[in-house]
Symmetry: C3
Subunit: 306 residues, 3 copies
């Protein structure tokens, strides 16, 4: 299986076999993540972030450092030449001279694909508009498999903003490669995008609902995402929805004992703090898993992990 | 004496014996600061700065690099997930996965203590509101001891904004562990906080005054801090105070020859540029000392320095 | 020839012999730029950028990493102590404690010279106001020599904003050390600065013109720069000029086959995208050359390259 010099613009770039390969490699990164290593010594990752991000950027930077590599980049358009009106293709053809691999976060859909076309070095999509966040989907799969020793056969409920949340789009595509039952829980206005639904419905069982309460007791995995205020023209509507999709101890009363609760973070208040200490809460472990998955990807794309 | 895995949230976390130990270790860091070393190879410091800072952040980053470690972090809330409404506890429980130790600057008092409670890795307070700046106090003590070969027996005058200046709070606590005579020089509205005064008055001789002119000739150490315009509702009052607490060659005419003038920097105009070339001026040497003290702390907390 | 501990504030700091030496050293950096090296292990470059920049900052950072060194700094005044009113001399006397060498970008002319006077460590001017950008001029010379195996005897046309564009000022000084014919093409309001013209006219043949069309067929090197909208009080005037100085396939119809088109980037639309795939376009190769030239400079100034 060949990963060297490939781009990762969409989770759809991968077959199920390739994903399994990546998750296995991620597992072998766990000891290196704890102790550090030198396998990417001399390599440079350019983190080109056109949108604010703490965790994805720091996760990539940490992964690179733990492999012995180094980072350059910008986290903020204000301090970049982009302010002078440069287009993305020029930025990429410039930055590729400074680095061995690029992680790109961009507000526009299609940005990662455009960058990958222009770049002579591998480009990893670190989030493109509301479209995709493929490395997060791999982290999610890795976490599910680590927690439940399998993905096939599970009932996965995805809750929140399924329309604008890029992580859930990538996750839905990824889960459609497995034998899972997927329940999509969202307010009417934030239902899963048509094109994603169409693509996955032919492959797996998908149920759409607005009823979180009835969904929780059935779920093996509960994937919660943030509902953003600014998506609602009517703030009264927002207030109502916000209360309905909040996870607390009460809403988990009938949950399975081995339920796995995930969240791509940052969280605002869609999961109550009291849930953090339940055995089902796995969203901070998910952050650690983000490091090992990204270590595996960086190693594979740069040819240092086979 | 055990430092590994401890937090540094307040200078009051340390006994006098522990401070002496740290200052001794800092001295052994001087050659490593000049040549570099590998004792923290593979370790990562997360510099989480919720407020602008050049010198503290760069000082920590430089200290980490000189020990062979690496840095990640953010210097600016604009480029961080915090903008999305994440709380500090979540940020900490995320960042602890990416790094081995955290340096935290935050505008709110109590932030460092909260972070230390949530973090599984050591947290160093790099400035919390107007409250404390414990590593700066250690740098100040190190500088005094390096310049005067002792701390006991000295007359220390602290000048400027004693109400909102966090460095002077930590320094006052630290000096109260030694046999010093402390003179606090400030305008009435910027007098030392009550709770700090109460805590130190039982231990050392403390004099409050508004008269800088009479204070200088007695002092062995003159610690000058910035008086911030925005602290004064009445700008006429500010203009008056600003002139009164400005150090220039004239105000130093009757100073001791071996006076040590310190300043945590940045300076605006509370010390005139003409003072920079006097033998008493030690505030830029103080910056270098900041590196070696922080090297010692990073090494001790990560268990690489014993 | 001695470079260790020198500053680079202006291209005029160098003789022709010294420039030749630097360009030769840059050539020896090409394999190190591709594979990485350890010759600056333990050294720290402080990138002090008071103005936004992607490429110069990332170029310096990448060069330092490829030599095994590390970087600290700020890219943005918002996150720096400068906001608190610190002057440049103090910033420099602080930062010199954290690093072994400084790269400074500043909006004011003379900033680099001032910094070099105060700093005990080498200072490299990474762009000072509209005045100078000496490392870019070295990159330009290196690129011309790499592409044409010589600089003497060439006809060089420099197009665009010759008044405010700092790169063209440094380049003009640099070219005046060689036996070149220089044509300066600009709108009337953006003609080359008087003091630069005077300095170079005594050394080389200089022609000023507003006619790009007649200039192109003669040129061996076409150096294009951005014309900034904000330089024109009259936007109608800007619109006219902008169209006149745009390079596209049509304007290159009568160009020499071995013409070398350069641009310091970022580009807005003064070179049409269709030109990118012509053999004459060398502006992205120029970016790579920026790394090797800066590697040579860092190595020479820090005494690791002889």
């Amino acid at each position: 299986m060949e990963f060297q010099d490939r781009d990762i613009t969409s989770i759809e770039d991968f077959t199920r076999q390739e994903i399994a390969y990546i998750l296995n490699k991620a597992k072998t990164m766990e000891p290196l993540a704890a102790k550090g290593s030198d396998i990417l010594k001399g390599k440079i990752l350019a983190n080109i972030f056109f949108e604010p991000s703490t965790r994805t950027r720091l996760s990539f930077e940490s992964a690179m450092l733990k492999l012995g590599g180094n980072n350059i980049g910008f986290a903020d358009v204000e301090s970049a030449s982009v302010k002078k009106g440069e287009n993305l293709a020029d930025t990429i053809r410039t930055v590729e001279n400074y680095a061995d691999i690029i992680a790109l976060r961009h507000p526009l859909e299609g940005a990662a694909k455009l960058a990958a076309e222009f770049a002579k070095i591998p480009v990893i999509n670190a989030g493109s508009g509301a479209e995709e966040h493929p490395t997060q989907a791999l982290v999610d799969l890795y976490t599910i498999q680590k927690e439940r020793q399998k993905i096939d056969g599970l009932k996965v409920a995805v809750v929140g903003d399924l329309r604008y949340g890029r992580t859930v789009h990538s996750l839905a595509y990824a889960l459609s490669l497995y034998d899972v039952e997927l329940t999509l829980v969202s307010p009417e206005t934030l239902r899963m995008r048509r094109e994603v639904l169409r693509a996955i419905q032919s492959k797996i069982s998908v149920t759409e609902t607005q009823n979180l309460e009835k969904t929780i007791p059935q779920a093996d995995v509960l994937y919660v995402t943030r509902i953003q205020k600014e998506r609602f023209p009517d703030q009264a509507e927002y207030a109502k929805v916000k209360g309905t999709y909040r996870i607390d101890l009460k809403s988990l009363a009938n949950a399975k004992k081995d339920l796995v609760i995930l969240h791509p973070l940052p969280r605002v208040d869609e999961i109550s703090a009291e849930v953090d200490s339940t055995p089902q809460a796995r969203y901070f472990q998910q952050v650690w898993n983000g490091i090992v998955v990204r270590m595996a990807l960086l190693g594979l794309l740069l040819g240092a992990v086979k």
